[in-house]
């Protein structure tokens, strides 16, 4: 190869290079084929993976479906249990019917036996079958149809009121007592200075506020007693007066607690009145309760027609608080005005109650007379108004 020159190839060299080139080309082709093959394999794998993923998804849904089925079965088991409970109730029902029918049959038998020995004397021959038919088709006394359980219903209503107003807790109830207590504290400290010369001013104030609080609270809740339970009135027929009467239970409870406190204060002061005046004091409370009850009967139906009556009543109570001798003694008012003030019922009640509880004497009939008249007037007018308008109560709600 010494003859070699740059740029020149011998034929052998050319042949070798060509062979080499061909070999390389073939190699490249092989590699290309490999690449194609691998790509195809990769695609297949990818497809396989996709398929597997799909399978997984399918299995997951199947699993969820099974879970739902299990839940459904659980639900139907619960349903069946309930149905069983219902059925057992039905069985009791039917047993009652059977019982009633059996009793009827026995009665019928007795009636027939009683009738047959003397057919010509007491029962006409055609009388027995007719009677029997009548007995057979007589109404079956289902569930024995008891009258309303008045006490039970009243207790439930009172309990409801207590729960709603005081959230059913003693704490809630104590909070409700806080308002009158605060009022007593403030008024006692402010006005006892003003009326320093008046004997027993503080005790009289205590009696006054306790009774006034009941009058105000009782007349307010009594007025709204039907309105507040409108949803019950529209649903079923029951004596609506239960609503009016039971609405006074929570104010009455407050009155009882404060009366206890008042008696404790009197006892501590060594001024507990004897049995006579004490009875007179409770008599005054009873009179107040009757007046409030009469007012409640009257206003509970009137407020259904005149919906703003409760706002009007709030104004009346505001003025009435000062019209009644709660914070001032009646003796501070000119003699000529006193009989007029006595026309406002709380005034009469307050004076009577104070004479008994603080004055420790049984008041003379001259004070009891007007009180009794007010009680009768309030109850009479209240109940009359109520009876006239209560049957249409549902139509005004």
């Amino acid at each position: 190869m010494a003859t070699d020159r740059p740029g020149e190839f011998s034929p052998e060299q050319v042949a070798k290079l060509e062979a080499d080139l061909a070999y390389r080309v073939r190699e490249v082709e092989t590699l290309n084929a490999d690449v194609a093959e691998l790509t195809a394999a990769l695609a297949t794998r990818a497809r396989e993976i996709e398929k597997l993923n799909a399978d997984v998804a399918e299995l997951t849904t199947a699993l969820a479906a099974r879970g739902a089925e299990v839940a459904e079965l659980d639900a139907s088991v619960a349903e069946l249990k309930r149905a069983l409970a219902t059925r057992s109730h039905e069985v009791t029902d039917l047993a009652r019917v059977v019982d009633a029918r059996t009793r009827q049959a026995a009665e019928l038998e007795r009636a027939i036996f009683a009738a047959s020995p003397a057919p010509e004397s007491t029962v006409a021959p055609t009388g027995t079958p007719a009677n029997a038919a009548a007995v057979r088709s007589a109404p079956t006394p289902l569930a024995a149809a008891p009258r309303l359980d008045y006490l039970g219903a009243a207790w439930t209503l009172v309990r409801t009121d207590f729960r709603i107003r005081y959230h059913g807790t003693l704490g809630g109830f104590l909070w409700a007592l806080a308002k009158p207590v605060a009022m007593i504290g403030v008024l006692a400290s402010v006005f006892s200075w003003l009326f320093a010369a008046t004997p027993d001013y503080r005790l009289n104030l205590l009696v006054g506020i306790v009774l006034w609080d009941f009058f105000a609270e009782g007349s307010r809740t009594g007025m709204l007693s039907l309105l507040a339970k409108a949803h019950l009135i529209g649903k079923t027929a029951f004596p609506r007066w239960l609503l009016v009467v039971t609405s006074l239970a929570t104010p009455l409870l407050t009155l009882a607690v404060f009366t206890g406190g008042l008696l404790a204060v009197l006892a501590l002061a060594g001024r507990l009145p004897g049995p006579g005046p004490l009875a007179a004091f409770f008599g005054a409370q009873l009179a107040l309760l009757s007046i409030v009850l009469g007012l409640a009967f009257a206003t509970s139906v009137v407020v259904l027609r005149y919906r703003d009556l409760n706002q009007v009543w709030d104004v009346v109570l505001q003025a009435g608080f000062f019209l009644a001798p709660v914070v001032y003694p009646l003796s501070a008012v000119p003699e000529s005005l006193r009989p007029w003030l006595m026309l406002w019922p709380p005034t009469a009640v307050l004076e009577y109650a104070r004479a008994a509880a603080v004055g420790a004497r049984v008041p003379e009939f001259a004070t009891a007379g007007p009180l009794l008249a007010m009680v009768l007037l309030s109850l009479g007018a209240g109940i009359a108004l109520y009876r006239r308008h209560a049957p249409a109560a549902a139509e005004y709600l």
Partner: protein
């Protein structure tokens, strides 16, 4: 034939239209001369029918046709303006069920309240609490105040109480229109068993199936009068005619 369980004789009822009525003390004081000669809406106009003992009567009618007013008259909640209603036994009305709970009280307290007022003795109402809750499937929500209930739950509870308190005569307003399938079938079961035990029932419904499947007899009310009375299939037909006639006139609620 003994006397019927319910006899309605020429009963009429009208309501004063609310806007014509003096509603406040303020108005009464300011306009004492403006006497309320209110325009009145005649809801029922001399209606008469009877229901025999143990019979189930269906009542159909468009919205505002007076069906619910009729039920309230029968229940003694309203009084008729004229005419006479004789009811031969204690009545349990099942009406206005979606509304009317003491919202702040829980299911147990509400059951006691409604149950006793519907005539269950307190002791019996107390004993029936689990059963009533089970029937409504509301055991888990026994101590939840009603204000947190869904409307469906509240209705279910009401049915359960009323079905438990059921006495001789039952008045049912749209009885099978509520609740899920399970509850509805339980209601239907209970209804059938009450019917079997000889109770007298009046069923108000818009649903032709309810009237056809559950009633012995039916009547359709429109414009305050009975338009047709007799076998349920014929009554349903008449009702569908009425609905087709004036679909746009269905304004007031039932």
């Amino acid at each position: 034939m003994t006397e019927p369980a319910i006899a309605v004789d020429a009963v009429s009822k009208a309501f004063p239209l609310p806007e014509a009525r003096m509603r406040t003390v303020r108005e009464a004081v300011l306009h004492p001369w403006r006497s309320g000669a209110p325009s009145r809406l005649q809801v029922l106009d001399a209606i008469s029918f009877e229901v025999g003992r143990g019979e189930t009567l269906g009542i159909m009618g468009r919205n505002g046709s007076g069906k619910s007013t009729l039920l309230k008259l029968l229940a003694g909640i309203y009084r008729p303006d004229s005419g006479r209603i004789a009811v031969g036994g204690p009545v349990t009305p099942i009406l206005e069920l979606g509304v009317g709970w003491s919202q702040d009280l829980d299911a147990v307290d509400n059951i006691l309240l409604l149950g006793t007022l519907m005539g269950l003795p307190l002791a019996e109402a107390q004993a029936a609490i689990p059963e009533i809750l089970a029937f409504a499937s509301l055991e888990r929500f026994a101590r939840v105040p009603l204000k947190h209930y869904s409307s469906g739950m509240a209705v279910r509870l009401a049915y359960s109480v009323a079905f438990r308190a059921a006495r001789d005569i039952l008045l049912l307003d749209e009885v099978f229109a509520v609740g899920d399938v399970g509850f509805r079938s339980r209601c239907e079961e209970r209804f059938r068993s009450l019917r079997r035990s000889g109770r007298t029932m009046i069923v108000v419904s818009h649903d032709p199936r309810t009237i056809r499947d559950f009633c012995d007899r039916a009547l359709v009310i429109d414009a305050g009068r009975i338009q047709r009375e007799g076998d349920p299939a014929g009554v349903v037909e008449r009702y569908l005619e009425l609905v087709a006639q004036a679909p746009q006139a269905a304004g007031a609620s039932a």
